[in-house]
Amino acid sequence: MNGSTIIFYLLAALILGSGLLSVTTRQIFRAAIYLLFTLIGIAGLFFWMEYEFIAAVQIVVYVGGIVVLIIFSIFLTQQAGELLPRQKPTRQLFAALAAFCGLALTMLQVNQYTFSKTTLEATEPTVANIGRQMLDVNENGFALPFEVVSMLLLAAMIGCIVIALKSKPQTT
């Protein structure tokens, strides 16, 4: 039992605990905050796995971007102090059951399978390596998906604007 292990378990507890709270609390603002904790916990886990770049992206995009967006939209659409409506108990029961069964099935399968680590030499996930490969146009490069994703982002952006426009400009 070393420090690394302890940190891992603490992070795990943080992720799962606040994740669970996030989907169960009836105050929407708190749910957002719990989500924030979960995301931070995951970022921590990335740090723990020594993927610093991903962890940083996680914090920047998720914590800094998405959660803020969510909180904004909560402000836009929600009355203060209003409790979230409760789902029907049967639905809750069935959802829990389905989720549990799915989890059980997944874990059974995962535990049956032995993942063996490759013997090849490891590539360090440094920013330099990631950057080089991402923009590489050769065989192992990710330039094309990168471009595709950027197109997607553009499309999404335009889509957002069109959807959220107050009213469509009248074309006479």
Partner: protein, 645 residues
Amino acid sequence: MPNTTYIALIPLLPLAGFLLLGIFGRTYFKNTSGMIGTSLLLASTLLSLYTAYGYFFDYGKVNGVYQKLVPLQITWLEFSKGVSIDMGIILDPISVMMLVVVTFISLMVHIYSLAYLKGEERFPTYYAFLGLFTFSMLGLVISSNIFQIYIFWELVGVSSFLLIGYYYDRPSAVAACKKAFIVTRFADAGFLIGILILSYYSGTLDFNTLIQKLTNPESLELKAAVTASFLGISALTWGLVLVFIGGAGKSAMFPLHIWLPDAMEGPTPVSALIHAATMVVAGVFLVARLFPIFALSAPAALELVGYVGAISALIAAVIACTQTDIKRVLAYSTMSQIGYMMFALGVSKYGGEDGLGYTASMFHLFTHAMFKALLFLGAGAVIHYIHSNEMKDMGGLRKYLPITHITFLIACLAIAGVPPFAGFFSKEEILLAAYHHNTGIYYLALITSGLTAFYMFRLYFSIFWNKPAQVHGEHHGEGGFAMMMPLVLLALGAAAAGFIPFGHFVSSDGNRLNSAFHLNFSIAPVALGLAGIFFAMWLYKKQNDRPDKIAASLNGLYKAAYRKFYIDELYLFVTKKILFNLVGRPAAWFDKNVVDGLVNATGNTTEYISETIKGLQSGKVQQYAMYFLVGVIGLAVLFIYIWKF
């Protein structure tokens, strides 16, 4: 043999008249259509007289035997090898005789109608239909192929339908024409099946080949046809009986006669032409045409023909005694006389002296055409004058219609078999033939002969004598030259046609047949005929209450005969109650409710199922997601744990 293809013109000229008047008559020949039709027919008549002269006195006879000549034959529709419908012309004594009869009577009717139907709105249509009928009838008599005869058979049926329905705005005429068509159609279905049977066994539709194959005792076809049997009766007999059913339908033989009296709804000249002289004898003609097969290969079928003819003759005569509509009396009389022709064929044998019945039948057909057409045209003149068909509206007309009176009397004497008028000779021959070959039929015929004289003179006295004439309002004489000329010509025929030595021309095997005249044999029928005439005179010459008394004393029989032995009602029952209510209605119901119901049920089931399962498509995203997850888990379990991939 000279080129005789011009014979094709005889039927084609009336056809041209039909097409011309049928298509353009209403617009271009409104008034001249009668003259056009008549002149075309006159040409036909002259051609057929020329043909008859040529055939009987020039090229027809080879070594003393009249030949069957086929001057023209065109394949019209080939079914398979050997089996084809040919359009052709056959020349033999009966077809040539029929050519003359049909064209002559038709010409008379054409002329008569010029006056009779003058001013009618559908005058061109009438002449067009007459042309169609004449064409079909001529085509029928010269047919060289059994299917050709069927084709023209149907065509005469339809022209009869059109002419009966000439006054189409009278519901009774519409009903009558439908009845005539449907009853004969029913018989024609039998005819058709008969043709199919005969053609199957003989492998041909051509009359000459057919007769040859089915009369030659050596031929394989005949053996096959006689050996094959159904219900214990040979296929050949079945075929001939079915063909005879077709003939019986057209010739109004019992029990298919019910259409004939109703057909009197048509214009009277039409009745004279179609329903007295020509079309109705087509059945007799058909049996005569196939006579060798009947006589040589299927005597049982011929016997049936004899009995049906005799029974029809008697029943029709009995009914005729009670009818009051003069045209109906004549219609039943026609049926009775055709019965004579039929049983004459039925009692005949093939060839020689025993073939007397055949000759007699054709002879009677010939004379009957004359005097029955005359009777109808005379009745037409009376109706034209008095505007009624009922005997009770008539009486004492002899002074007003002198020519009609005399010609009518001649016709009545002829049909009653009083010498020396035409009917006497032909009827004597028939009775003689029956006497020699079937005494049962002979006695039936004898009774009928007495009855015939009675009802004909009942008619005669009721029209021209009886009570004084009740003529009201203005009148237009007898109808002028156009109406009288045919009457006189036909009266000449009715008076003199009997002196033709018919057996010299027409006989079953083409040989000359000398009909011996037996004076002592003739005594009984003539005496009976005279008795009938005097009885009728006693009852009807002066108005009195004797007929009613007799009718009252014969209550049941009189009523039954008056109601035509309830045969119409029986048919009505069969068609209305059984065919319509027990077959047609259930079929329609079945279709609407069961078959269609099944189709709709399929549709409704689909709709019901979709209605039930559409709840799954609730529009609630979370439900969809849950189905999705459950589905994924289910499939995963299925694949992993059950099918063990």
